[in-house]
């Protein structure tokens, strides 16, 4: 079967959705299909240019494609008679982020018109889908709440579980993944002001912008945390990244309302590492369970400082939480062969 994965593209930005598409392609091929990714540029600033990009997406003519698997707005607007949605997210600035006052849509009548248009376009696109899956319970709930659409959750599997074998702690809590304000690594750095001197933090991953990197570095300098906070802000190879995970005392991931379980937490769980998260971190909380797989704190530096210290206070308990995270992940039975099978059903 010829399967086209359709996704957005922001040139020179690579994150979870891009990783998901690439691994879906790889696993479709492993399952005996022909698979390719169509990446279409999408830029949400300025908001006035969004309708044109939606129209362009809608105007594409696809042929020689048996199935389409679409991941994101506006990629899922593409026309095809056999289209499956594996929803990473809608245009959240028109939905929950709008309600939260975090939208980039202009205020007043213009913004309302644009929001209404995006929602109508979504409704039309969702009605065209042969099946709808979401990557997490959070995405599923958002889809049900705002679009009245039911969906099944298909959590994206870890792509290379063999790398995440765990290992002896090297004495740091790892904060991994893309670095930006929404991922809130700055909360963890600020928390380090209030932690025990023996607590150490390693922030590792590619910053979305130079400003994101500078902001973290300033915090470290400002609070004189250089001896206990290490910043390795760059794109890491899978080997480098896995070594950081495997050597961590625990793995902290505190984004604001993440859509999915998140690769960082899944890979940490696979490695048997205790998880630290925040109570408003969304889909991540599917794995991060307070007192079961790790710690869930309020999204404030002082509260996070407490749980960072906890990770070092009792290593046996920390390891028990890590084991619990691995068990919970495995109980979810998330693997690529069954995921591919569901998507092509």
């Amino acid at each position: 079967m010829k399967v086209l994965i359709v996704n957005n593209m922001a040139p020179f930005v690579w994150g979870g959705a891009e990783e998901l598409a690439a691994n879906l392609e790889r696993n479709l091929i492993l399952a005996g299909h022909q698979a390719e990714i169509l990446r279409v540029p999408f830029q949400w600033e300025p908001a006035e240019a969004i309708p044109t990009q939606m129209l362009m997406m809608r105007a594409f003519e696809l042929w020689n494609v048996d199935r389409v698997i679409a991941l994101k707005f506006p990629a899922y607007l593409i026309r095809h008679p056999h289209k499956t949605l594996w929803l990473v997210h809608q245009y959240r600035q028109a939905y929950d982020l709008f309600d939260a006052g975090q939208t980039n849509l202009p205020p007043g009548e213009q913004g309302e018109a644009l929001r209404s248009m995006i929602r109508e376009a979504d409704q039309q696109a969702f009605a065209e889908m042969r099946s709808i899956y979401t990557i997490s319970d959070v995405t599923k709930a958002r889809l049900a709440r705002y679009n009245g659409r039911e969906a099944n959750v298909l959590v994206p599997p870890v792509n290379d579980p063999e790398r995440f074998i765990g290992g002896e702690s090297q004495g740091y809590v790892l904060a991994a993944g893309r670095v930006n304000a929404m991922k809130r690594q700055h909360l963890l750095v600020e928390a380090m002001r209030y932690t025990s001197p023996k607590t150490k933090l390693l922030v590792a991953g590619p910053p979305d912008s130079a400003a994101d990197a500078d902001a973290l570095q300033r915090l470290v300098d400002q609070h004189d945390l250089g001896d206990r906070v290490k910043l390795d802000l760059r794109f890491l190879s899978r080997d480098e990244y896995a070594a950081y995970v495997n050597g961590a005392q625990a793995v902290a991931y505190v984004p604001y309302d993440e859509d999915a379980l998140a690769y960082v937490t899944m890979e940490a769980s696979q490695a048997g590492k205790a998880l630290i998260s925040a109570c408003d971190s969304g889909g991540v909380l599917g794995l991060a369970r307070h007192g079961e797989t790790g710690w869930v704190a309020m999204p404030h530096p002082e509260a996070l400082a407490g749980v960072l210290d906890q990770a070092f206070a009792d290593s046996r308990r920390t390891q028990a939480y890590g084991d619990g995270a691995r068990e919970r992940l495995h109980a979810m039975d998330i693997n690529w062969p069954s995921t591919v099978g569901m998507l092509l059903q």
Binding site: E48, A49, M54, A113, M117, E120
Partner: protein, 437 residues
């Protein structure tokens, strides 16, 4: 080129007669033409004029589909007469077509079509003329002054032209509404008209006859209704002692009894010699036209894209008085006498007095008009322009297709398009379409 033309086949239809000219010219140029009669069912049993090409009734669905499928161009000749253009309205939206628009005002056509398409009709009114227009139009339709009430604000030009892939009009005065509604090419092309044999001698003899004290004959041709201004002609003649004594005002064409009584009473009261001849056949009409000293083609309001009676009169070498409005305003001022619509009766009285007093000037005016009209209103010129518009339509087709696609998507998304007027939103689409429109 294979060309399908939808038009009335009846000889009684001026549009049908004009189409006959086109068909002959296109055939002479080597094109294959199929004529599809567009009259409503009850009229299709009447024998059509001889077109010398294959003629199909619009009701013969398979045959029409087959002809259209093979056609390089589909053309609809349409005016404001529902009975004559019923079939065109049935087929127009099914194939991309050129509409040759004979009337800018289409209120009567629309009104009668609306009786069986009320939901679509109301939607069209709301779309083109805004809130409340759907109610107003049909309220006005019960009134005698329906045309006057709707011709400026709701002429329904846009409704028809929006269904066309290209439009040919026969003058420029009402073209803005066409341009606003037809996404494809639009061109103003002079109406094709059959040039009669040179009639200069009869015009001369008629001028001389008048000099010997014969009546001064003023003629108006066509269905007698308020917008042909017969009452104004009577009042203008009454204003002049000389004209009252010497002029005979003849009306040729359908005239209902009430109108005839009303005009007769007015003429009698004002001492004007009025003759109401009713409808006549072509031969009689030719004799009457030849005998006329002046042809009055006054119109208010002006509804036509072009006036067949004015063209015919000019081709017959007759001096013509016209209202300075619409199509008539586009006729050069040394070929007709323009009458000021705001000072109609005085202006007309002066013009008729001058024409009455100056037979040589009358003849010279007629000859200039004839020379101009015989160059202007030709079937060859019309066909040349029509084929050019067909080429333009084919070139525009991909752009129109894209525009329709985008418009449909925006409509499906219930987009408030007022907001899309920014260059940020539209420039990329313009780039894609390769247009600055």
């Amino acid at each position: 080129m294979n060309i399908v033309i939808f038009a009335p086949g009846l000889k009684a239809s001026a549009i049908g007669r004009m189409t006959g000219l086109l068909v002959r010219e296109l055939s002479a140029q080597g094109h294959t033409v199929v004529l599809i009669r567009s009259e409503e069912k009850v009229l299709l049993s009447a024998v059509p004029q001889s077109f010398s090409v294959e003629v199909i009734d619009w009701l013969q669905t398979s045959a029409v589909d087959a002809a259209c499928a093979q056609a390089d161009a589909i053309v609809h000749q349409i005016g404001d007469n529902y009975h004559y253009h019923y079939g065109s309205l049935e087929w127009l939206s099914k194939y991309p077509s050129v509409v040759c628009l004979h009337d800018f005002y289409l209120g009567n056509l629309f009104f009668q079509w609306a009786q069986t398409h009320m939901a679509e009709a109301e939607q069209a009114l709301l779309h083109w003329y805004g809130a409340g227009s759907n109610k107003k139009f049909f309220e006005y339709s019960h009134r005698q002054d329906f045309i006057e009430l709707t011709c400026a604000a709701m002429p329904m030009t846009e409704w028809l032209c929006a269904m066309a892939s290209a439009v040919i009009t026969h003058s420029s005065w009402g073209i803005k509404r066409v341009l606003d509604s037809c996404a494809g090419p639009v061109r103003a092309v002079p109406l094709a008209y059959e040039v009669p044999a040179w009639d200069g001698e009869s015009a001369v003899s008629n001028a001389e006859a008048h000099a010997d004290g014969e009546p001064f004959n003023i003629l108006t041709i066509g269905n007698v209704n308020a917008n042909k201004r017969a009452a104004s002609v009577i009042r203008a003649l009454a204003q002049s002692e000389k004209l009252r004594r010497s002029a005979v005002f003849r009306l040729v064409g359908q005239c209902d009894t009430l109108k005839a009584l009303e005009l007769s009473a007015l003429a009698r009261n004002l001492g004007v010699n009025l003759v109401i001849s009713g409808p006549v056949d072509d031969d009689v009409l030719a004799v009457i036209v030849r005998g006329a000293d002046v042809v009055s083609c006054l119109r208010w309001p002006s509804l036509e894209a072009a006036s067949a009676s004015a063209i015919e009169a000019m081709l017959h070498c007759k001096p013509v008085v016209v209202t300075n409005v619409g199509f008539y305003r586009e006729i050069p001022s040394d070929h007709v006498v323009h009458i000021d619509p705001d000072n109609e009766i005085d202006s007309l009285c002066k013009a008729l007095e001058w024409l009455h007093a100056e037979p040589e000037a009358r003849l010279a005016l007629g000859r200039r008009a004839q020379a101009w009209a015989s160059q202007q209103f030709t079937a060859a010129g019309y066909c040349r322009a029509l084929l050019g518009v067909v080429d333009d339509m084919h070139m525009a087709a991909p752009i129109l297709h894209s525009m329709r696609f985008f418009a449909q998507a925006l409509s499906d998304w219930k987009t408030d398009t007022r907001w899309l007027g920014t260059s940020l939103a539209l420039d990329p689409i313009r780039s894609l379409l390769g247009t600055t429109a």
